[in-house]
């Protein structure tokens, strides 16, 4: 069974600083996708970044980048130049189309607080 682990329940960072959120996953599949979603206090879940497992290159989206280590099954999110609006719950998620479920498997989340 696939599992996703986020070992940091809470983190804090000062505005303009860099923070890294950790995520590890477990799967025996080679075809899968990884996601980071952000859920601000207003609760709408927003995609931050997406990574395809077959791609070696780490995905980046503006201030957000990932460190995808396939052999180690690690998928950490780096937020550079943190902003107050980055305050949110961050969920790491895994999906494989192999079993015809297409469901997202989520980690338990990391609550990030950005301080001025």
């Amino acid at each position: 069974a696939q599992t996703v682990t986020q070992s940091q329940p809470e983190m804090s960072v000062q505005e303009a600083e860099t923070v890294t959120l950790s995520c590890t996953y477990d799967t025996s599949e080679s075809n899968y996708y990884l996601f980071w979603y952000k859920q601000p206090p207003s609760r709408q879940m927003i995609l931050v970044i997406r990574q395809e497992a077959y791609k070696q290159q780490n995905a980046t989206e503006n201030r957000f980048s990932v460190n995808f280590q396939k052999a180690a099954k690690s998928f950490s999110l780096k937020i550079s130049d943190s902003q107050l609006g980055d305050t949110a719950m961050y969920f790491c998620a895994f999906m494989t189309p192999v079993y015809n479920t297409d469901k997202l498997i989520f980690g338990t989340g990391t609550r990030l607080q950005v301080f001025p």
């Binding site: 996708y33 996601f35 979603y37 207003s42 609760r43 709408q44 879940m45 927003i46 995609l47 997406r50 395809e52 969920f91 999906m95 189309p97 015809n100 479920t101 297409d102 469901k103 997202l104 498997i105 989520f106 980690g107 338990t108 989340g109």
Partner: protein, 114 residues
């Protein structure tokens, strides 16, 4: 382009009643997913609908059911409500036939069972 919409925003029911939650996907998206976000249990997959058919369901009892309409909107029904059904129910949609594509989420319906 409008995002995924859900209604109602909040729903208060008592034990034993039925709840109906609604979701409209992004235009062009034919797959709709339902997730439950309960305190202490995290986000769990409930149901997946595609092209009007139920494609997969998570580990939830049969009193959780739903359907997808010809316009791809979806309804989640929860019968015989129990206190532990209190949760945020999130709907997500994705592009037709695009396995592995991003699921886009709606704002959720907060269900409270008293």
């Amino acid at each position: 382009e409008a995002g995924v919409t859900q209604s109602p925003t909040h729903l208060i029911k008592t034990r034993g009643q039925q709840a109906t939650l609604r979701c409209s996907p992004i235009s062009g998206h034919t797959s709709v997913y339902w997730y439950q976000q309960a305190l202490g249990l995290g986000l769990q997959f409930l149901l997946w609908y595609d092209e009007g058919e139920e494609r997969n369901r998570g580990n939830f009892p049969p009193r959780f059911s739903g359907r997808q309409f010809p316009n791809y909107s979806s309804e989640l029904n929860v019968n015989a409500l129990e206190l532990e059904d209190s949760a945020l129910y999130l709907c997500a949609s994705r592009l037709a036939g695009a396995r592995g594509e991003t699921q886009y989420f709606g704002p959720g319906t907060r269900l409270l069972v008293l």
